[in-house]
């Protein structure tokens, strides 16, 4: 039976797509007719020719007949399709609740999952547009005793030259170093982020210039005319986006350089503004006298066929040779790790994104499950309708087609709105992403393969589940639905009811998992925000001031800039206090070996140290614990005094009072403008300030007067009475009043700086997860409500009987609530188990929050139960306000 029906459907489909077959059939049919007529005519006595002509005349113009028949085909098909369409619209309009909910579910599911997956795909899977980027590798040296800690990936010129020249595993290898580039424009200096590139850099990345050309080997030779390449963003923001500037000269860091090319938008390597060709030599001296030598980051492209293990082995050989020449740069026992560029850049973010991927899949699943439920519920209402229509002669194909049209209308509306949500959602998410967390090259746009996938899945669900009533009618089981009183069967079969319940249970469980995830991330984020920084960051304006290296090398030169600047800034209206410093919390300065006079110890002692002015501590409200801060005279005279933090005091002074004791900060002797005999007298102890980020324990720290040396980048901090940003322009003016050739960089409020460094990443993760959880919750609420409402409506008759037999309104209420809560409780129970299992995946993202945090889990359970009760309220009220007599008559 079904075979024949399917066969007919197949025929129909084939017929519409093969008009030649249709034409040939028609020809055959008419030819048969003519043949029969001709035969009859001949039998009646005509000769062959006359018989044929007579037959043709009787039929009429054969072309005309064919035309008319073909017209009929087209018109009738269109006509019935149109009828299906209007019928479907009417049917959907009659049940606005169902229609709106179905479309909303579809749209939400498609929109949310597409938007978020677009972000993931763009960031995680394809962050780099460079051909062969999947085989870009960096080289890291890790201490064998501490392999998991961050390794060293920076090298000096001779080192990386050895790696590049002696290896056998990279077919192209380059290095790059960052440099502050001061660019004179208008009345003052701008600071650009410069990237020094070694030969073959642009060949390595494989992207041609947008305008002009990329650097060629000749540009790297030492005697070549100075050139540079501009990055897209800097071109737009600092150079007006004008393509005609190619070939012009600009003064960068005091040198006139010719602009030879502008890179396309997706070339964001190192977030560089300008790219300067450099051919490094093995010469050991600092690249620019008086400045720290540049640190080079190595990158190589693995030869085809070479594995990571082979590369590691090969490079380890070179590393071992180098360790003998530069023993101080290598730990006594070390391991060489080859890390792919994608891993290095995406790193931590990868876990968040993978989790989000899982959540996206869950969301889409919930959506489809909801939709399936809605359509099945509707299907049972319509069983009778289709049985009647079938009995009246509608073919199964017609019924199926009509249902498909209905589902199509739902799909198209839901899909269209879903795309809208996806586009909007994507823009909002992109706005939220903290800028430093993802590579500059990523371009996040609506991902069409994903959209297509989500649309396909979500659109086929209504089509598949909408077909159920037609297929049931196809089973020729017309008697039962027709015989049953009421609008159809009572709640569908028992099996159907169980399927519906199972779907809701799964939804609740999935939603539970998402909510727990969001809750844990939220608690972790709140804990992070609760970390005491050890200072007050409000109302502080900060800026870094890179000084042109030719004129600022010694301490005296440095002071000649900062002392007048500090005085000028202090006298500005609205300024409470001013200080200079070499580092900004929550990160703390230069690492150094330290010694304490008179103390003997076996292991190495190290600390971080900063250079600052005497007001530094008061600007940031850092508490004094013992002794005193250094004073103005001591700073002016560059006296060797030091302030240490509590951790330093506890760890290296133990029970001895540190005040008056002497410590040695060894690395100061290695500075370009070195400090001889770097022993300092401790004059004060301050409370701990976060110096290794928010999550690492505080390291021992030393503060020294900034006037001791001219090396190291510095900046100023300004505590203001009012909004710090209102003093930006004054700050800039004062800086340029002291020296026109100094640029300002990283200007902003202290709070914003800390936010970007520490909170932005976890905040993003938490916000994303919360969006998910909320969308999931909305979907679940819709799902529970619709199913409970439907089930209650089905049982109105039954409830009426019960009430007529003596049940009270409360009993009716209990019945409805019981239905809803039963399903939700089972869902919560399963969700509990699922999220306990999955929590371990989340654990790496959490800080000071247990992945099994009972508060979060209980909270979510209660929330879901509450939602369940809320979803039952409306159906329950309808149930309790039933008049028994009306209900009994309710068909």
């Amino acid at each position: 039976m079904a075979n024949r029906w399917l066969g007919k459907v197949w025929q129909r489909i084939r017929a519409t797509s093969r008009p030649d077959q249709l034409n040939r059939d028609l020809d055959d049919e008419l030819a048969f007719h003519l043949a029969q007529r001709t035969a009859k005519n001949r039998a009646a006595g005509m000769n062959a020719a006359a018989a044929g002509y007579a037959a043709q005349r009787q039929l009429g113009n054969i072309t005309d007949v064919k035309e008319r028949t073909r017209e009929v085909l087209i018109l009738t098909s269109l006509e019935s399709l149109w009828r299906d369409f209007t019928y479907a619209l009417r049917a959907l309009r009659k049940k606005p609740g169902f229609t709106i909910v179905a479309i909303a579910t579809l749209a939400l599911g498609i929109g949310a999952s597409t938007a978020i997956f677009s972000v993931i795909e763009n960031v995680l899977i394809e962050p780099f547009p460079y051909p062969g980027a999947d085989r870009f590798m960096t080289v890291e040296i890790h201490d064998a005793n501490n392999v998991d800690a961050a390794g060293r990936a920076e090298y000096s010129s001779p080192e990386f030259l050895d790696y590049i020249e002696k290896n056998h595993v990279f077919d192209l290898a380059i290095a790059d170093a960052s440099e502050d580039v001061l660019y004179q424009v208008g009345g003052g200096m701008e600071r650009l982020h410069g990237i020094l590139c070694t030969p073959n850099t642009f060949e390595f990345f494989g992207l041609p210039a947008l305008y002009g050309r990329v650097s060629e080997p000749a540009d790297y030779e030492p005697g070549a005319p100075p050139t540079f390449i501009l990055g897209y963003k800097a071109w737009k923001s600092h150079f007006g986006g004008d393509p005609s500037i190619i070939g012009e000269t600009f003064i960068l860091n005091g040198t006139a350089r010719t602009l030879i090319g502008i890179m396309p938008r997706r070339f964001g390597w190192g977030s560089g503004d300008v790219f300067l060709p450099v051919k490094p030599t093995r010469a050991e001296q600092a690249y620019v006298a008086g400045e720290f030598p540049p640190v080079w980051y190595l990158m190589g492209h693995l030869k085809p066929g070479v594995t990571v293990n082979q590369a590691q082995a090969d490079l380890s050989v070179i590393a071992n040779q180098l360790a003998k020449i530069y023993p101080k740069s290598y730990p006594p026992r070390f391991v060489v790790k080859i890390v792919s560029a994608t891993d290095m850049v995406v790193g931590n973010f990868r876990t968040t994104l993978t989790l989000t991927l899982g959540a996206v899949a869950l969301l889409l699943l919930i959506s489809c499950a909801n939709l399936a439920n809605l359509m099945l519920a509707r299907a049972t209402t319509r069983e009778k309708e289709f049985a009647v229509r079938s009995a009246l002669g509608a073919s199964r194909w017609r019924l199926v087609r009509q249902l498909l049209v209905e589902s199509l209308i739902l799909s198209v509306c839901g899909g269209a709105i879903g795309v809208g949500i996806a586009a909007l959602g994507l823009n909002s998410i992109v706005a939220l992403i903290p800028p430093i967390t993802i590579p500059a090259e990523t371009e996040i746009s609506l991902n069409f393969p994903v959209l297509a996938f989500a649309l396909t899945v979500a659109m086929f669900t209504p089509m598949i589940f909408g077909l159920v009533p037609a297929l049931r009618a196809a089973r020729n089981d017309l008697e039962r639905p027709l015989r049953d009183s009421g609008k159809g069967t009572s709640s569908g079969t028992v099996g159907q009811g169980r399927f519906r319940d199972a779907v809701i249970v799964c939804e609740v469980a999935l939603s539970f998992t998402l909510l727990v995830g969001a809750g844990l991330l939220m608690r972790s984020f709140v804990a992070l925000r609760g970390v005491s920084l050890g200072l007050r960051a409000d109302h502080v304006l900060v800026t870094r001031l890179p000084l042109p290296s030719e004129r600022y090398q010694t301490a005296a030169q440095l002071v000649s800039f900062y002392r007048p600047l500090l005085t000028r800034l202090k006298s500005l209206p609205g300024v409470v206090d001013v200080a200079e410093s070499s580092a900004l919390p929550p990160y703390g300065g230069f690492p150094s070996d330290v010694e304490v006079s008179g103390a003997v110890h076996a292991e190495k002692w190290s600390a971080l140290f900063q250079l600052c002015s005497e007001r530094f501590f008061s600007v940031l409200h850092i508490q004094l614990r013992d002794g005193r801060f250094f004073d103005e005279t001591e700073v002016a005279d560059a006296r060797k005094v030091a302030v240490i933090n509590e951790t330093f005091a506890q760890r290296y002074f133990d029970r001895v009072n540190p005040i008056g004791r002497r410590i040695r900060v060894s690395d100061l002797a290695n500075f370009p403008d070195k400090v001889d005999d770097p022993w300092f007298e401790v004059v004060g102890v301050v409370s701990d300030v976060r110096n290794k980020g928010l999550q690492e324990p505080v390291a021992p720290e030393v503060w020294l007067p900034y006037t001791l040396t001219g090396s190291g980048q510095r900046g100023v901090l300004v505590r203001t009475a009012n909004d710090p940003m209102s003093l930006m322009d004054s700050l800039r003016r004062e800086v340029w009043a002291v020296d026109r050739s100094v640029a300002l960089s990283y200007t902003g409020t202290m709070e914003n700086y800390i936010h970007l460094q520490s909170y932005a990443g976890p905040q993003f993760g938490f916000v994303l997860m919360t969006i998910f959880a909320i969308v999931g919750l909305a979907l679940v609420s819709i799902g529970v409500y619709s199913v409970v409402a439907y089930a209650t409506a089905r049982r109105t008759h039954e409830i009426g009987i019960r009430m007529a037999l003596g049940a009270t309104r409360t009993d009716a209420l209990k019945l409805v609530l019981g239905m809803g809560l039963r399903v939700i409780s089972v869902g919560v129970a399963i969700g509990l188990i699922a999220s306990l299992a999955l929590s371990r995946v989340l654990a790496s993202q959490l800080w000071q929050t247990s992945a099994y945090d009972p508060l979060t889990i209980c909270g979510v359970a209660i929330l879901l139960l509450a939602i369940g009760v809320a979803a039952c309220v409306v159906p329950a009220r309808r149930a309790t306000s039933i008049e028994p007599t009306l209900a009994l008559r309710h068909e």
């Binding site: 059939d25 028609l26 055959d28 049919e29 008419l30 048969f32 007719h33 043949a35 029969q36 007529r37 035969a39 009787q58 039929l59 009429g60 113009n61 005309d64 007949v65 008319r68 028949t69 017209e71 009929v72 085909l73 009738t76 098909s77 019935s80 009246l392 002669g393 509608a394 073919s395 017609r398």
Partner: protein, 110 residues
């Protein structure tokens, strides 16, 4: 005026086709012949209109069609009434009877 007449004619043709197939499946030629014979030569179907009508009825689901072999071993398309077709035939026939009876009565009154 011509439209109405066409409609009437079309409706009539449909009815005749349905009736002709009430006795069993037949091909288009057979239907034409049967109408001619059964009406005792009064009605001649415009054969050019027959085939569009047959296809239209098939599309509306009142007829089903299958390719088969005729008595003289030729390939021909056979049409048969569906359940819906049977029902339509009954309704149309009943309507016709009523209409023609009413008209006859009106014409009888002087």
């Amino acid at each position: 005026m011509t439209d109405k007449k066409d409609d009437l004619l079309q409706g009539t043709l449909d009815l005749l086709i349905l009736k002709s197939l009430a006795r069993g499946p037949m091909h288009g030629y057979g239907v034409a012949e049967w109408i001619h014979e059964s009406s005792q030569d009064v009605l001649r179907v415009e054969e050019g209109a027959l085939y569009p009508a047959l296809h239209r009825l098939e599309l509306r689901g009142l007829l089903s069609a299958e390719w088969g072999v005729s008595d003289n071993n030729r390939r021909a398309k056979f049409y048969a009434l569906t359940t819906a077709g049977k029902k339509q035939l009954m309704q149309e026939a009943e309507y016709w009877h009523r209409m023609s009876g009413a008209i006859a009565r009106i014409l009888q009154t002087a």
